[in-house]
Amino acid sequence: MDEKEFIKKLVAGNQVAFGQLIDAYQQKIFGTCISFIPNKEDAEDVAQEVFLEVFKSISKFKSNAKLSTWIYKITTNKCLEFIRKKKTKKRFAFMQTLSGDDLPIPMTPYFVEINHPGILLENKEKTALIFKAIDTLPAQQKVIFTLAKIDGKRYQEIVEITGKSLSSVESVLFRAKKNLQKKLANFYKNHP
């Protein structure tokens, strides 16, 4: 089926079309959600919200872009929104270092309980550390690093989702990686 025809059916509220949309995208959207939110139940809840948002907003979709790119943008925004809401529920006290806005990795419990079936038990603690460190990155770095290194998206897909140029994505990714290395090194220096 032509994508335009498919979108028309979605706009008309066609149940079969919506079912086909779920079949085509459920694994991909869930995969992206669990990359941002390493908790299976929470990631599924957010993925559901993504599909419902797609259904509600499909009439606003501009057909000059790809449907998949639009869906991934919604997914990223929903994940970030979830993280923001979860964090405001938990009270953190971040201590800023003397060097400026370089946030250390917070030692308070992570705002989601790590429940990621893809993470081995022996790696759970260290992986939680990485997710905490990623969470302290600036928003752009967080998004691009997560999409590239955890969700496994190709650079071209990230370019389409974020609207940035390829060189910008590469540059942000490089900075994110450097930042993470610095944060982890500081952590291990202070916690041998």
């Binding site: 149940q15 919506f18 779920i22 669990i34 559901q48 419902l52 290194k149 993470l180 982890l184 220096k189």
Partner: protein, 101 residues
């Protein structure tokens, strides 16, 4: 950054490549379709144009037409009776049911 920290940092970051993909729950689609059915707009009925306002307007029009017709009918019959009486009075009727000529 000392060597031990560097080594630990590299090891920790490598864990990201060891995260296995997770399959979405088999009930995900079913749950979502239930939500979709709840939120989907109601399918329009065949006679969706027959709104209450339309029905009231039609009733009003029918009443007006009926009343108008009744008035017209009564006013018309009065005239016909008057004309018939006049014709009878002055023997102007051409046809008569009387057996007398």
């Amino acid at each position: 950054m000392n060597e031990i920290s560097k080594h630990k940092t590299t090891q920790t970051l490598e864990l990201l490549t060891q995260i296995a993909p997770v399959k979405v729950s088999p009930f995900f689609k079913h749950k979502l379709m239930q939500e979709f059915i709840k939120e989907a707009p109601q399918k329009p009925l065949s006679f969706s144009w027959l709104t209450p306002q339309f029905q009231w307007a039609t009733l009003g029009l029918v009443l007006v037409l009926n009343i108008g017709t009744i008035f017209y009918a009564f006013s018309g019959s009065k005239e016909a009776t008057a004309i018939a009486l006049f014709a009878q009075e002055y023997a102007l009727q051409t046809s008569s049911n009387s057996i007398l000529n």
